[in-house]
């Protein structure tokens, strides 16, 4: 018994040391990126001068902001992400209410139609959706980036499940009081559904904040490009001159605020990722 304890304890220690090494390996890419973003642009990177350089500087950040409109990209991303979210919250509440509390003809057909969105990923539909956006004359607009995501099957089902748990009596009472359906939905159904809506919001935000292919396809100028596409364009500029300290500064501009928010709201972030398995 004692021998086994000893063996398991030394195994434990060994495991922790190994874990430490792996953890450092995992963390190094971001630490290095951060360090090099302060590397003086006139000092070239080499195996012996790999980190902050002799005199750390903010020059890379100044240049990055000068040659790429990161502020504009941030605004675009924020408008896209929250524009999608606000419309989604409306559409999913309405649709969820319909499925949770009404019996109507064609219910199953409509249910399966919406289910289709969970089955066919939007990335596989860029060819026809791109031409739809062209036909609507929306190419290179923020609306083009948002439009395909205004309805959400995942959100609709989430709201349906949540609304179903609310006692029908409350609904009836509200109607007896003379409330119309909108007032009933707003006062009876929405308040208890808030946690579900927050969970949905976090997964929607993180998906659309990070999305790249669709905005790449439907945007073509600084006024509509989100951060992800903006960074890709910026990287390709910087890579031509092998200006890595500049590229890393651009990367930090994009991920810095995100990582800061993550540090502050770690628990909420992790919760949201646990919910985002289904989009």
């Amino acid at each position: 018994m004692n021998n086994r304890r000893f063996a398991s304890r030394s195994l434990n220690t060994l495991g922790l040391v190994l874990l430490g090494v792996v953890a450092i390996g995992w963390a190094i890419p971001i630490i290095w990126t951060f360090a090099v973003s302060f590397h003086p642009p006139e000092e070239s990177l080499s195996a012996s001068n790999l980190w902050f350089g002799t005199q750390p500087t903010l020059a890379n950040y100044a240049t990055a902001f000068k040659i790429a409109p990161f502020a504009q990209y941030y605004i675009n991303t924020i408008v896209i992400v929250f524009g999608i979210l606000i419309v989604q919250l409306v559409t999913i509440s309405l649709a969820g209410y319909a499925f949770a509390r009404f019996q109507f003809r064609g219910q199953n057909i409509l249910f399966f139609l919406i289910l289709l969105q969970l089955m066919v990923p939007s990335s596989a539909l860029i060819v026809p959706n791109y031409s739809t956006i062209r036909q609507l004359h929306l190419f290179d607009t923020l609306l083009a980036v948002m439009l395909p995501f205004f309805g959400s099957a995942f959100g609709t089902f989430l709201m349906r499940q949540t609304f179903k748990t609310i006692p029908r009596d409350l609904d009836d009472a509200s109607k007896m009081d003379g409330a119309n359906w909108l007032q009933t939905l707003w006062h009876v159904y929405i308040p208890p559904a808030r946690p579900a809506m927050i969970a949905f919001a976090l997964s929607s935000i993180s998906f659309h904040w990070n999305d790249f292919l669709w905005p790449l396809v439907v945007t073509n100028s600084e006024s509509s490009r989100p951060l992800t596409v903006g960074l890709a364009v910026f990287t390709q500029l910087g890579e031509q001159g092998a200006q890595w300290s500049l590229v890393t500064a651009g990367t930090v501009i994009v991920v810095g605020p995100l990582l800061l928010l993550f540090l502050i709201f770690q628990r909420q972030f992790i919760e949201s990722f646990l919910h985002s398995g289904l989009k």
């Binding site: 290095w32 289709l116 791109y130 119309n180 292919l213 992800t228």
Partner: protein, 305 residues
């Protein structure tokens, strides 16, 4: 119950009074509209377009039956694409899922700096793939890229990771594993929190070692989580595109081109709508299989928890 008589309803309230029979359709209208325009019709459209030759060489689309598919499946470059995609998925998925399980098992205890460890493994999940790919593009730089600097300590000469047909796909796999392991780890941590304590106490009393308890109790009990994260990993793997766009552009020599990237390229570089639609159909079929599995496993996971 208060007695509001119906006669006191204001004009504003009346405006929202829709016939009860029509109401559910009104409520569903926006969602059904968007799903129809951006999912249902496009799905049918790719299916239809995949049967036509529609590219720069023809003025009017020509019906071609399944020619687009047979041409794709007989072209060497599409073989490369399928090969790369499947190898990428078959290598990254088991490694990251296994690693995630091991990390979760180790980190599911209380010890010093636990938060820091979790942070180290989870933060790549928070980064957009585009920025993660930019960072790793930099890591792989020949000469002073950290990967090469690190390997030089072991006497391995500097490699052009992304410029070599043998190494480029491996380089993308390393990024993929680094990026998603922490994500799967939190599913395992959540799963571990939900396991019943009593079984482990009983096992301990019976003299089972930690390793035995892990092998014969924990891992089987986490099967639901394993199936769930595996399908997510597979779906994400098949949808890989951002990192290819940033790091390799599908090269060198087609060595890193995968399904979704190839589809994008076929549409926007080669302007071949017919082939791109056929690829969409192939991608949809592959993903449909796994999303269905994912759906089943989600239901199962929900009933476990």
């Amino acid at each position: 119950m208060t007695l509001h008589s119906r006669t006191t309803t204001t004009k504003k309230e009346r405006r929202f009074r829709i016939g009860t029979a029509a109401l559910p359709y009104v409520l569903l209208f926006p969602t059904v509209l968007f799903v129809t325009v951006f999912t249902l019709l496009p799905s049918l459209r790719v299916l239809y377009d995949s049967l036509f030759i529609q590219n720069q060489a023809v003025k009017i689309p020509q019906f071609a039956g399944i020619d687009n598919f047979t041409e794709l499946f007989s072209s060497a470059s599409f073989h490369d694409v399928l090969f790369n995609t499947f190898v990428y998925v078959l290598v990254t998925v088991p490694i990251s899922v296994f690693l995630a399980l091991v990390l979760a098992l180790i980190l599911n205890r209380k010890f010093r700096a636990l938060g820091l460890y979790r942070l180290a493994f989870f933060y790549p999940t928070v980064l957009p793939m585009i920025s993660a790919a930019t960072i790793w593009y930099f890591m792989y730089t020949p000469g002073y890229g950290l990967i090469n600097v690190f390997l030089r300590n072991f006497g391995i000469p500097s490699q052009s990771w992304l410029g070599s047909a043998n190494l480029a796909l491996i380089a993308l796999m390393i990024l993929g594993i680094w990026k998603q392991t922490g994500y799967f780890m939190i599913f395992y941590l959540a799963g571990l929190q939900g396991l019943p304590h009593e079984i482990f106490e009983a096992a301990d009393l019976d003299g089972a070692s930690t390793i035995q308890a892990t092998r014969y109790l924990t891992v089987p009990l986490l099967m639901g989580t394993t199936l769930f994260v595996t399908t997510i990993a597979v779906i994400n793997g098949f949808e890989s595109v951002d990192q290819i766009y940033i790091m390799t552009g599908g090269g060198p020599n087609n060595a890193t081109s995968m399904l979704l990237f190839n589809l994008w390229q076929t549409l926007f570089s080669f302007l071949d709508v017919g082939k791109a639609s056929a690829m969409s159909v192939i991608l949809i079929v592959v993903l449909l299989i796994f999303t269905t599995l994912n759906f089943i496993f989600t239901e199962r996971r929900a009933t476990y928890e």
